[in-house]
Symmetry: D2
Subunit: 336 residues, 4 copies
């Protein structure tokens, strides 16, 4: 960490600040320039309060040199983390596709979709039971019944299931869920992250609409710091000024995350754009950008979907996408 | 609501769509142009699923004409809602200032700040007991003890207290809290909003970092739709490309919200910029922009604050800000 | 175009507005709802001033139904435009790579880079002669001499050259340049666009840092409306809140542009991220997203480049990227 | 400037880098930490190429400590620059209002508006002669004739005139213009900035839609570095995700700019929001935020304005705004 002091800072107070930092076990390197004095801190600065330092009257600015996350950091964990669930693997050269409807609507719907996406090569089934919706007047999911229907589909097809948790109060319903999804709006629900850090299931952590890559990694760190190191990161589009697509898929985040962390990264092209016609090309970009998987919304009858119909695709179209994804995975040397 | 159909849509299917819309009790006005057909829907469209319509193969685009919120809408509630708590009033020409430290740190700290901000004219005391922090390694507040200390400060000064709820699991600790704050990161924690809609306390709802004005109003609508109509909206800066300030205070949101809704609007200049030197000018802009109150972080010793020291100001500086705010309120005809 | 009137608009004034619109040769379809009246306009609305309509006291809002661009619109020009220059083709299934240094620095530098990128498969040479730089104290290019050096490299290798125009005052120097580039900062320099519409060369039009896809197409329309229909669009990253990359590559813009327009689309991964380690994966995403070409910065010695060294790659690394690009083009059925 | 080296950088190469930096006359302070080595550079780093340093294989990251602008920097010029033109003063406690229509449309229009805004207290007249428009099919101004009409209005009222330059090719027409405006889209048209740095007139420099505060100051530095130090900065809203207003007025930029630079700062509330009903409250925020002036669009008949009618106000409404602005200026001790 580097501290840049204000011009003309009182030398006695500067001495005091340096003593206090040394007292915290840090090595100090001081550079006195004509315009400013710089203090380099050497040692473990992760417990230093950067806010408090910045509020110090002597300090002009404080800059971090090392990343504020450790458990998620590839520097300290060179090899890819491989997360396996029910035969599906993410990371370490393994690529898996999660598919299914935005919302679970009926047993017939979820079972038939599950069979179709499995036939096309999906390795996991997704479906919303508890749905976060912007309007209080919109359909908010079948809730507990939705989870039961997912479990029926799992039984019928053998596909492990992924579904979103919207409140810790429902956590007892997720015992047989295979992967718990934290939605974009809960990426910084720190109470939820801490609690999920104590459970024994992989977590699919979606990036918040306006969360930086570093914040996403800090949220993964929350879960990991409580003991659960099985976190799958999900890029699903960020909010920008562009309105031609619902969000802007930050495809650069994929190779950058793969450099910064050992955790697997999947891409959700459905939420990223809200536009069914873009799912195919964006799914392909995810593979070649280095992602470890995809999550795609598939619905048997998008115009009658109870939510997000606009971005859902029919099973036959999903089948075509899987053909392209498989071909690209082969080319990239990924095991699908 | 307006539905624009695709060119060359099959006329029989269009008839079917129109029949289905009529069957939902809506009036239909159809315009056939050379390039596209437009269907105007007349009646209560709040229950129509805009997503499903947009997924319909006949539909090019759907545009809302009326706002999707009702209870929060000034069109249906012309007069300002006035929210009163412990003698402090927000709205209808009343202006109140909420002040206090980012985090409650000790009885001595919170009681002394409370006395000082009260002396300067603050009407409510803020202080964080449960703190959402980006890093799992940062100080997360005194939790239950923090709330107890706030209640001591309330007893000593008579100031009603405002503090943030970060999980419904802690709600039982908030019985004597006067205003429950929903933080920016929980603005779309819909389970929390619904539950707070059932409680009998005013809610201070902070705008999310990348939430639109309409989404803020929809979140207020969530709370109101469950019966609790005492919602105070808080503009606290949005996330943009500019990094010179922590966030960008969207000051236009204040007069715009006052047009769109009858609910009171307060401004938080501390979080909006993360820069103590900007609190004074931004507090003044809030008054003249038409806000109904302010929320300001005040700490007896910012460099030693356990969080957000950079944006906190000392009590004497707060006193100077209150002088300016009072003078402007007089000029604007607001009761402070 | 759809006009939504305010509630309780004076019926006589509404009649007047409708008469005036009819007088402009437009068909009118009127829908009177309980909350608002909607007027659908049928016919050619491209000359209607949407600003003036929105300022009308009777009008609540005006919404466009059709795109405001015509010459660039795929609706009126179904087939891909193919732009050919010196043997390189963009569009219609043809893919070309433009490569070279950020700035032309010396004859030795530009000729040696030109030979190397040609050997790797680049079809055009780029190089900055006039450089837009944020700081007046930075290197701003060799100017006229830079163009002469590019022409020497063209003569030596046969590669057509692409270079940026920063002022119409320099246009006389561009007679032998093959493609004129309009930089991101000049995307809405409308005087420049109009003038380039009168010249007989292909234009490479880069998307502005905060320009929407529609604005990019409107800028293409400017050039085309003056007679020059050879416009190549370039996605080069947009400005967002994310600071981990210099800009955010909007990869969705590629397939979306291919739907909206018949013009070729190329991707510039170098400027999009400012990070040499991301050029390879992003180049690959461009191919599978449907782009018609790439523009990549290549420098023989990035640490000693006079600008943008951070994002430049060495020729050997470019060679590796070309191998991947060629393989993906084969798979996608593109002619490289 | 601070250079953070990569872990395990080759010590011999590090010695070489340090020698090269010393050779450029810089003092070096080196700190060797367990995770990284930090080099602090002391002296004038304004000519160092930060891009080249960042591309160096030894370097992890480079961080600036001092601002990259000098002439515009308040650190080296403590007192406010006061810019006076035709009796109107900006800066140093002086506040001036510029008003007039978006476009000059006729002699009658511009003269009558000029008289009215003068009567209300405006000190300068604005009006567009050359208009940058997104669509090539929109009205682009009366051009040379527009400037002549402005000069007639100047003669009739004595008000100095402000009008935008869209191309250096028109500069010869601006001899009698009092302040030349650089529009948001040309803020980084560096050729234009350099040329205006050689002219002997004040420049009104508008912030680009997605330009940072530092970039705005660098563009001012461009003009100043050529000799023209009379630059007035204009905050006119930035592009964000929020669509309820056309742009987001960054009101914090005003007090922040007043800290960073000695140049005057004005606010344009008309373009900032594109909404006439917000001009009054935003004009008031500009005064209390510390601005040195305002620029407001006034049109005698907004619904028939040839551009930007939506955000224009009638002269009577402008008169009301001036009353509020005058009262606030008195309170703030500003001379209007």
């Amino acid at each position: 960490m580097i501290i840049v002091l204000k011009n003309h800072a009182d030398p006695h107070k500067v001495e005091g600040l340096i003593r206090s930092l040394k007292g915290q076990g840090l090595g100090i390197h001081r550079s006195d320039g004509t315009q400013s004095t710089i203090i380099g801190l050497v040692g473990d600065t992760s417990k230093l309060d950067i806010d408090a330092l910045q509020a110090n009257e002597l300090v002009q600015t404080v800059k971090r040199v090392s990343e504020p996350y450790k458990l998620a950091n590839r520097k300290f964990h060179q090899d890819d983390t491989v997360i396996e669930v029910g035969g599906a693997k993410f990371g370490g050269g393994n690529f898996s596709v999660i598919a299914g409807p935005c919302s679970v609507e009926s047993e017939e719907q979820i079972v038939s979709v599950a069979k179709k996406v499995k036939a096309s090569g999906a390795k996991l089934l997704r479906g919303g039971a508890f749905k976060p919706r912007t309007s209080p007047y919109a359909f908010r999911g079948l809730k507990a019944e939705g989870i039961e229907l997912l479990l029926i589909a799992k039984k019928e097809t053998g596909l492990p299931i992924v579904t979103e948790l919207t409140s810790l109060n429902h956590l007892h319903l997720y015992n047989d869920v295979d992967i718990i999804q934290v939605g974009a709006r809960n990426m910084q629900n720190f109470e939820m992250l801490s609690e999920l850090g104590k459970c024994n299931k992989p977590i699919l952590l979606k990036r918040g609409l306006s969360s930086t890559i570093e914040e996403l990694l800090m949220s993964a760190e929350y879960i990991m710091s409580e003991g659960n190191e099985r976190v799958i990161l999900c890029e699903r589009g960020i909010r920008t000024f562009e309105t031609a697509t619902r969000n802007t898929l930050d495809i650069s985040a994929v190779p950058l995350l793969k450099q910064l962390t050992h955790l697997p990264v999947v891409v959700d092209p459905s939420h990223a754009t809200g536009n069914a016609s873009l799912i195919m090309p964006l799914s392909k970009t995810a593979v070649v950008a280095g992602a470890d998987g995809l999550m795609i919304e598939v619905h048997p009858d998008p115009p009658h979907a109870l939510c997000d119909g606009k971005q859902s695709i029919r099973p036959d179209r999903f089948d075509g996408i899987m053909d392209s994804v498989k071909a690209l995975c082969r080319m990239e040397g990924k095991v699908l």
